[in-house]
């Protein structure tokens, strides 16, 4: 029991291990760079159990999203997405104005607003607040931004025991694991692993009953809320006109974290602003339906300043740390649209690749289609060369996105940047340029097609798979091609062209 979070206080330093059970800083989300996706993706696709969880869960969520959005918005769904996109785009186009408004109004409400240029600054601000408050125990609600800044190990290093209170994140923390989905962090885990973690780390009797598991977590966490002197949250939205921070949760843990402890610190990316409450309403309707298929999340918590004199509940101090950490770089006009993201996770659920490889294969805090865009932007394209490329560009993400981020378009844009910055291998650059040249004239195009046909059909003849019959239909099959085509035949057979092309038919008809 020595490793239970409740007992792991500063004494943990002695063992040389980080205090508590933090998973931030985990190499799952911060692997050595440059990151190559193949090893993890290949392992994930071979893991039948993982495929079962992630594929089934994401597929169901995607189906629910479509049913719920069409039931709620019907024919107007497109208009609604258009509106959501316009609200976010407008705010980003005038971000300086709205940040200023937010800061003025939040400050007037008694909030201390801090600016952090990067992760290190954000963490330093938070540590300073924790030190001044003399904090010993921190309860934390779910936040992707604190994953991004790797806050937890730092808090623990100064002796602040930090407990994740979102059920999924809590389990991940106990199990030394890392989130693999923006909204459903433990989508890759099953009930058995939760039962084992509770048994091992909390000394609870082994049970796989979800109700009992929830009760175990609840009993453990309630005690923490009561004792905590620091509460940390993220923020789903910031409302400029009132200086409010909005968090959406389904477990109510966010409310405890932000109102029970004496000090509340919210970590929020600068892109989370919306101008007014009227706009917030639109965004909340979209967020809940596209992320979890609910009409509204169970708890939508709007916080405007710390506890006022006449109020009984709420923190004495409320801080908002506005984080840049690469966002102003994305704010340039060519990529600004990416910042509309409200982290609903719909693109992950809709993505065929995410369904097959899971979140950890992306080697970053943000996974899935939106992660494939913003991770290279945040952490360098040369560090994540696979992320923009490991996509079939099927467009399911774009269709699912409530704020209409044209993800396939931007994936291609990043690929183009890789070519122009020569991150793309020189051999690839040579092949594509020669290929393009051969397609640039009809005679070289015909010659290329003819040579390909001859080679493929000759190989098929050698392999004994060449079918005879209709010259426009009968073909052969190859199962072991050399070079890059070997990637194809490692998985499936390659059809050869039939004996004659369409052009030959056209010519034989004596058509003009």
């Amino acid at each position: 029991m020595s490793s239970t979070p409740s007992e792991s206080t500063t004494s943990g330093h002695d063992t040389g291990k980080p205090v508590g059970l933090s998973v931030n800083g985990h190499d799952l989300l911060f692997p050595p760079l440059p990151y190559d996706i193949h090893a993890r993706a290949d392992k994930a696709t071979a893991d039948k159990q993982l495929l079962d969880f992630v594929h089934v869960a994401t597929y169901r969520k995607d189906v629910t999203r479509r049913q719920v959005t069409s039931a709620a918005f019907g024919e107007k769904h497109g208009d609604f997405r258009e509106l959501g996109a316009a609200i976010k785009q407008h705010t980003l186009d005038h971000l300086d104005h709205y940040i200023e408004k937010f800061v003025d109004n939040a400050t007037a409400a008694g909030v201390r607003v801090h600016f952090a240029q990067d992760a290190a600054q954000a963490n330093a601000i938070c540590l300073d607040i924790a030190r001044r408050a003399g904090a010993k125990l921190c309860v934390k609600s779910k936040s992707m931004v604190t994953e991004e800044t790797q806050l937890l190990p730092q808090l623990e290093a100064i002796g602040v025991e930090t407990v994740e209170t979102d059920l999924g994140e809590f389990i991940l923390q106990l199990d030394h694991d890392a989130p693999s989905h923006i909204v459903t962090p433990m989508i890759h885990k099953n009930r058995q692993s939760v039962a084992r973690a509770f048994e091992r780390e909390l000394g609870a009797p082994y049970t796989e009953d979800p109700q009992e598991l929830t009760q175990i977590a609840r009993a453990h966490l309630r005690e923490k809320y009561r004792k905590a002197d620091l509460g940390i949250s993220g923020g789903n939205f910031l409302v400029a006109e009132t200086g409010s921070v909005v968090i959406c949760t389904n477990e109510g843990n966010g409310r405890f974290c932000t109102s029970a402890p004496r000090v509340h610190v919210a970590f929020v990316g600068i892109e989370k602003l919306v101008p007014t409450f009227e706009h917030l309403g639109v965004m909340l309707k979209l967020l809940a339906r596209t992320s979890t298929g609910q009409p509204l999340t169970v708890y939508t918590h709007v916080m405007t300043g710390p506890r006022r004199a006449h109020e009984h509940g709420g923190p004495d101090e409320m801080h908002v740390i506005l984080l840049d950490n690469g966002r102003t770089e994305i704010l340039k006009p060519e990529t600004r649209e990416m910042l509309r993201c409200i982290r609903c996770g719909a693109c992950l659920n809709a993505c065929p690749v995410y369904r097959k490889v899971g979140g950890h294969s992306y080697g970053a805090v943000y996974s899935g289609p939106i992660g494939a865009l913003i991770t290279p932007m945040f952490r360098g394209l040369a560090n994540y060369p696979d992320l923009p490329n490991a996509s079939s560009l099927c467009g399911a993400c774009y269709e699912a996105c409530p704020v209409k981020i044209n993800i396939p378009k931007y994936l291609i844009q990043l690929r183009a940047e890789m070519v122009s910055k020569r991150i793309t291998k020189w051999s690839d650059r040579l092949v594509y340029r020669m290929w393009a040249r051969s397609l640039g004239r009809s005679w070289t195009y015909r010659l290329g097609g003819w040579a390909q046909k001859l080679f493929f059909r000759w190989q098929a003849r050698v392999a004994g798979t060449l079918e005879l019959g209709d010259p426009y239909r009968s073909r052969g099959w190859l199962n072991d091609l050399p070079g890059p085509a070997g990637g194809w035949t490692s998985q499936r057979d390659m059809p050869t062209p039939p004996a004659k092309s369409f052009r030959q038919w056209w010519d034989e008809q004596n058509r003009p």
Partner: protein, 249 residues
């Protein structure tokens, strides 16, 4: 109605019978079909891999080749989407070219988009007949064209066809052009999922409308020992109208 066929490079070489079927169906519907011989490739492989300059030159060629056409029809959702989604943007620094590209966009149709929106065909009134159990593979690029169940509506107009919906129809087959070769394991896992869904339908034929998807899925069916016939929508329509010999399934 004058229609120019943009056959696409993959259909030309790998699926010539689809091109022939498009010509026969369009002619049966009273269109005068021509085939501009200078056409090659729309530039999609270059564009999708970030070779924008190379793609632009191929796009320029396409705009020139089809400049005089009244309608351009292609049996490929992805090539059609390439023209619609990206051609004007490729020439954003050249307003005159961008305008010519927009004209090409306006007159370019995916084959059955053309049948439904321009010709407004009703296969029932033409006496279309085809016998067998059929499922349909929805290609992802039709999303970009705003198309959903158009092909299914056409298939259901054919008498004798027993149509079975494909489970998880909206999930990509994992082709994605060079993606299939660069990320074989991911692509292979996706296409095997597709084959399992096809197997579940017990259909004798899969109707597909993109040469890339067909190469991928048929190659995987063969590897996984699932015997099923692949037909393009143009082929099944041509066969149902007696314009081509019916495929035995």
């Amino acid at each position: 109605m004058k229609v120019s066929l943009f056959v696409t490079c993959l259909t030309d070489t790998f699926y010539p019978r689809t091109g022939i079927a498009v010509v026969k169906v369009l002619e049966r519907l009273g269109c005068a079909v021509d085939f501009p011989q200078a056409q090659t490739c729309c530039g999609q492989p270059m564009f999708n891999n970030g070779f924008t300059d190379e793609a632009r030159e191929l796009a320029r060629r396409m705009v020139e080749v089809f400049e005089d056409s009244e309608y351009v029809v292609t049996p490929s959702g992805s090539c059609c989407a390439m023209i619609h989604d990206y051609y004007p943007q490729l020439f954003k620094d050249d307003p005159a070219m961008a305008e010519r590209a927009r004209k090409l966009v306006e007159k370019t149709y995916e084959f059955y988009q053309f049948l439904l929106t321009v010709v407004k065909v009703d296969l029932r009134s033409l006496g279309a007949k085809w016998s067998g159990k059929v499922t349909y593979h929805y290609s992802c690029h039709l999303r970009g064209l705003g198309m959903t169940d158009e092909a299914v509506r056409l298939i259901q107009q054919i008498e004798g066809v027993e149509y079975v919906p494909l489970p998880k129809a909206e999930q990509c087959c994992g082709f994605g052009g060079t993606f299939a070769m660069k990320y074989p394991q991911i692509s292979g896992t996706l296409v095997r999922d597709k084959v399992a869904c096809i197997r579940d339908t017990r259909a004798a034929a899969v109707v597909s409308n993109d040469a890339g998807c067909t190469m991928n899925i048929s190659g995987s069916c063969r590897r996984e020992n699932h015997a099923v016939t692949f037909l393009s929508l143009a082929e099944i329509i041509a066969e149902s109208l007696g314009l081509m010999e019916a495929t035995a399934v």
